[in-house]
C-alpha cells in the first residue's frame, strides 16, 4: 500500500519512539512489582514451606525407620502431615512462579513491543523527506504495489535459516553451562534486521493511507473485491491447514493413548489399558477437575484454579474479538456520537474511541500471553514437560497458537499508533477490518484448541 504522496511528518514518527518509551516503562514497573518485589516475598514463603516439608518428611521417615509408623498406611498422622506440607510447598512454589513468570513475561513483551514500535518509528523518523513521485499527471486512484511483504518474507527465511543457533544463543544467555554456537547466529540476526527494515518500510507506506488507491481485483471470481481482503482470506485458508495438522496429529495419537478419559469411557479398558498403571498423562489431566494427575492423597490436582488461566484466556480472546469489532464499527460510523457518562470521558471523540478499543484489544491479547506462560511454567514445574509425546504436541500446538497471538499483537501495536496519529475513519477502516479477520481466526483456532487440549 502506498501513501500516494501524503507525507507524514517525521515528528509523527517520533511519537512512536515516545510510545516505545512509555510501553517499556510499563513493562519495567510491572516486572519490578510482580517479578521482583512480590515474587521475592513468594520465594521466601516457598522456602519456608520447603523447610516445613523437609521436617515433616524427616519425621515420617524416622518413624518408618524405627517402626513406630506404618510406611504403607496413608491414614497415619505423620503421613498426612507430610503430604499436607508437600501440597503446601507445591502451592507456594506455583504461587512464586505465577508472579515471577508474569513479571518476566511483562518485561519481555514490553521489550518486544518497544523494540518493534520504537525501532520502526526511529527508522522512519530518520528518513529524509523523499521526493513526491506523484505529480499531477497521475491518477489519484492509481495502484502502487509494495515490495515490503516480499522483503519481509525473505527476512523470515533468513532468520529461520539460522534459527537453531539463535535458540542455542538464547539458552546461553540464561544458562552458564550452555555455550553459544555463533556459526549461524549472524545469519539469524541478519534475518531479524531485514524483518525490521521491511516492517518499518511497510508502515512508512501504509501510515499515510487514508483510503484512496485500494487495489481492486479485476477478474473472476473476486472481481470488485479488495485484493488485500482476498489475500487475507487465502492466507487464512493456509492457516487452517497449519492448525489442522496439529489437531489431527493430536487426535491420531490421542486415540491410542491410554488416558483416564479413554479408560473410563470404555468398559473395563482395552488392550494395553487395563489399569491405572497404564494411564498416560495429558495436559488436561493436570488442568481439569478430575484429571488423572494425583497428589499424595490420591486427589486430582486439577481444580478451579488450575483451569482458571485457560478459562480467563478463552474469555479474553472472545472479548478482544468483540472490542476489535467495536473499533471497526466506530471507525466506519460517520455519525458516531460520544457516549454519555464515564464512557464519554474515556472516548470523547471517534478517533479516541477507535484507539481505545484497539488498546483494549492489545491489553487482552497481552494478558493471554502472560497467562499462557504462567500456565506453562506451572505445568513444567509439575512434571509435564515437552520431553513426552503428550507434552510435545501440547506445547507445539498451543505454542504455535500463542505465536500467532503475539504476531497479531505486534501488528495491533501499529494499528494503535496509526489510530492515535493519522486515525481511522469510514474511508480507511479496512486496515482494522482485515487485521480483524486474522484476529478472529486466532480466536477461532482457540475455540478448537481449548476444549481439545484443556477440557478433553
Amino acid at each position: 500500500m502506498s501513501g500516494h504522496g501524503n507525507h507524514v511528518a517525521n515528528s509523527t514518527w517520533m511519537r512512536a519512539v515516545m510510545m516505545a518509551g512509555l510501553i517499556l516503562t510499563i513493562g519495567i514497573v510491572g516486572f519490578a512489582v510482580l517479578g521482583v518485589f512480590v515474587a521475592e516475598n513468594k520465594h521466601h514463603t516457598w522456602e519456608d514451606e520447603h523447610h516445613h516439608y523437609e521436617d515433616a518428611k524427616d519425621e515420617w521417615t524416622a518413624g518408618v525407620a524405627d517402626g513406630s509408623v506404618n510406611g504403607s498406611d496413608h491414614s497415619e498422622p505423620l503421613y498426612i502431615a507430610k503430604e499436607e506440607a508437600h501440597n503446601s510447598e507445591i502451592a507456594a512454589h506455583l504461587s512464586y512462579l505465577t508472579y515471577r513468570v508474569a513479571g518476566v513475561t511483562m518485561l519481555f513483551i514490553a521489550g518486544a513491543y518497544a523494540t518493534f514500535i520504537g525501532l520502526g518509528g526511529f527508522l522512519n523518523a530518520s528518513k529524509p523527506k523523499g521526493d513526491d513521485h506523484h505529480d499531477d499527471h497521475h491518477d489519484e486512484h492509481e495502484h502502487h504495489g509494495s515490495a515490503s511483504p516480499i522483503i519481509f518474507s525473505f527476512g523470515i527465511m533468513v532468520f529461520l535459516w539460522g534459527l537453531p543457533d539463535f535458540i542455542v544463543a538464547c539458552k546461553a544467555l540464561l544458562d552458564d553451562t550452555v555455550t553459544a554456537e555463533l556459526g549461524m547466529l549472524g545469519v539469524s540476526v541478519s534475518g531479524l534486521l531485514i524483518i525490521v527494515i521491511a516492517v518499518s518500510n511497510w508502515w512508512f507506506e501504509d501510515l499515510p493511507f487514508i483510503g484512496h488507491g485500494e487495489q481492486i481485483a479485476t477478474s473472476y471470481p473476486f472481481e470488485g473485491d479488495h485484493i488485500r481482503k482476498v489475500g487475507l482470506w487465502v492466507f487464512i485458508m493456509s492457516e487452517i491447514m497449519v492448525f489442522a495438522t496439529f489437531f489431527s496429529s493430536y487426535l491420531r495419537m490421542r486415540t491410542e493413548w491410554c488416558t483416564k478419559w479413554a479408560f473410563e469411557n470404555s468398559n473395563g479398558g482395552f488392550d494395553g489399558c487395563r489399569s491405572e498403571d497404564d494411564w498416560v498423562l495429558t495436559a488436561s489431566d493436570y488442568l481439569r477437575p478430575g484429571g488423572a494427575k494425583l497428589d499424595g492423597f490420591g486427589e486430582s490436582v486439577g481444580d478451579f484454579w488450575t483451569l482458571l488461566p485457560g478459562g480467563i484466556n478463552t474469555f479474553a480472546l472472545i472479548i478482544s474479538s468483540y472490542t476489535i469489532v467495536l473499533a471497526l464499527k466506530t471507525a466506519k460510523n460517520a455519525k458516531w456520537e460520544a457516549p454519555k457518562g464515564f464512557m464519554g470521558k474515556l472516548m470523547p471523540t471517534r478517533k479516541a474511541a477507535v484507539r481505545n478499543y484497539l488498546i483494549a484489544t492489545l491489553m487482552l491479547g497481552s494478558l493471554f500471553i502472560v497467562l499462557k506462560l504462567v500456565e506453562w511454567s506451572h505445568l513444567v514445574a509439575e512434571g509435564f514437560t515437552i520431553g513426552t509425546v503428550q507434552g510435545s504436541i501440547f506445547y507445539i500446538a498451543t505454542g504455535a497458537h500463542g505465536l500467532h497471538v503475539f504476531i497479531g499483537l505486534l501488528i495491533m501495536l501499529y494499528l494503535v499508533f496509526k489510530a492515535d496519529t493519522v486515525g481511522f475513519d469510514e474511508d480507511n477502516a479496512q486496515g482494522i477490518e482485515y487485521f480483524g479477520l486474522y484476529w478472529h481466526f486466532v480466536d477461532l483456532a482457540w475455540v478448537v484448541i481449548f476444549p481439545a487440549f484443556y477440557l478433553y
Partner: protein, 121 residues
C-alpha cells in the same frame, strides 16, 4: 458492518454474538466442572461431555466465522475459500480411522475402509 446494522432488542448482531460466545464458553467449562447435572443426581458421562464440547465448539466456530468474520454477508467465493481447507481437515480426521491400530475393527464402519485383507491379516 456499519451504522445501518439491524438491531435486536436495541443491540446489534455483534453484541448478541458476543453474548452467545460468552455464555457457551461458560456452559463448556461447566460441563467439565460438574460430575452431575446441578440440582439433580443425573451423572454427566464422558460421552455427554464429549458431545457438549463438540456442539459448543461448532456453535462458537459458526458465530465467529459467520458474524465476526462476516462470512454470512460475503459472496460465495469467500465462503468457498474458507471452507475449502476443511475438506483436508475431514480427510485427516478420516486418516485417524485408517491408521489407527483399532481402525479396522474398533471404529465405526463409516470411518473405516473395512478392507477384507486387513481383517484377515
Amino acid at each position: 458492518m456499519g451504522e445501518h446494522a439491524k438491531l435486536y432488542m436495541g443491540k446489534d448482531i455483534y453484541f448478541w454474538n458476543f453474548i452467545v460466545l460468552m455464555v457457551f464458553t461458560l456452559f463448556e467449562l461447566g460441563a467439565v466442572f460438574f460430575e452431575t447435572v446441578p440440582g439433580t443426581e443425573i451423572d454427566i458421562s464422558r460421552s455427554a461431555v464429549w458431545a457438549i464440547l463438540i456442539v459448543v465448539g461448532l456453535v462458537k466456530g459458526y458465530g465467529i466465522a459467520a458474524y465476526f468474520m462476516h462470512l454470512k454477508d460475503e459472496h460465495k467465493w469467500f465462503n468457498i475459500t474458507f471452507l475449502f481447507p476443511w475438506i483436508f481437515v475431514a480427510l485427516m480426521l478420516w486418516g485417524i480411522g485408517l491408521s489407527n491400530p483399532e481402525g479396522v475393527t474398533g471404529l465405526p464402519s463409516w470411518c473405516t475402509p473395512d478392507w477384507s485383507y486387513a481383517t484377515e491379516r
